[in-house]
């Protein structure tokens, strides 16, 4: 019973946070919404049996990515100014798109029959050790590639954000 309540709390986190992120006109609230939503997700991950991924979600996503977004916002936006006027037509269109998409996907999900397994896999299969082993055997290419992508992203980010030299050729 209590477990159920906790899960539903997490689901509520996810959806309320998502709603805040989607509808808020104040960019800071949107970021907070994203944080709440991600936190809820981390809870759901925990509930789905993966404490490691949940921890990573909190550490990297909330601790890293969201904070980076906050910094970018502070660097680029004067916080005090009035948010832009809402564009009702655009919002309506976006909501319509989302509702149609959700309807279609929900319909398909409800109609789908997945080959579900009877009981969750053993505790051992979920362990961090198993994950690490798989990353270095099965998925070593993926792992290496990911590190390459991160390296490139860092170089690129520095390069793009670097202040441009005065133009020589104009």
């Amino acid at each position: 019973m209590l477990e159920q309540a906790v899960i539903y709390t997490f689901v509520a986190f996810v959806l309320i946070g998502g709603g805040l992120a989607a509808f808020s006109r104040q960019i800071l609230y949107a970021i907070i919404g994203l944080g709440i939503s991600l936190l809820g997700l981390a809870g759901l991950f925990l509930n789905l049996g993966s404490p490691f991924v949940a921890a990573m979600q909190v550490l990297i996503y909330i601790g890293g990515i969201t904070v980076a977004i906050v910094f970018a916002m502070m660097l680029s936006i004067a916080m005090s100014i009035r948010p832009p006027d809402p564009d009702a037509r655009k919002l309506g269109f976006a909501i319509a798109c989302a509702v149609i998409f959700f309807g279609a996907v929900a319909h398909l999900i409800r109609g789908a029959q997945f080959q579900q397994i009877a009981s969750p896999a053993s505790e051992k299969a979920w362990s961090v050790g198993a994950l690490g082993h798989a990353l270095l055997t099965h998925y070593n290419v993926v792992f290496e590639t990911l590190s390459l992508v991160l390296l490139l992203a860092i170089i690129g980010a520095i390069l793009i954000a670097r202040k441009a030299l005065p133009k020589e050729n104009s």
């Binding site: 959806l15 998502g18 992120a21 949107a30 991924v53 990297i60 969750p120 990911l146 690129g156």
Partner: protein
């Protein structure tokens, strides 16, 4: 909760992300919307991982990789935002006419 309800939560999160990405004029808000969409995929993967798959490592690794890629993506995108901000910060009238012409 059943698999189906997890998937529905995922779909709802995706749709919320879609609203964020489609309705905002602010690039950061758009980025947030897209992050939500990616997280909906993560939720799906974890749910399938728990209910469908016999070996649960794959889904978890998938989600970990998504988190890593999202970090890279955000880094690039934020630097682009800073670049645009800077370009328009020291904007002058001449530049404007150049753009609109």
């Amino acid at each position: 909760m059943t698999l189906e309800s997890y998937l529905l939560v995922g779909a709802a999160l995706f749709s919320l992300g879609l609203i964020g990405a489609l309705s905002h004029r602010n690039l950061i808000a758009v980025l947030i919307g897209i992050e939500l969409m990616m997280n909906a995929a993560s939720l799906n993967l974890m749910a399938f991982n728990r209910f469908v798959v016999t070996d649960p490592t794959t889904g978890q690794i998938f989600v970990l990789i998504i988190i890593g890629l999202a970090a890279a993506e955000v880094a690039i995108f934020l630097s682009i935002i800073l670049r645009i901000y800077r370009a328009y910060h020291d904007i002058d009238a001449e530049k404007l006419t150049k753009l609109s012409g």
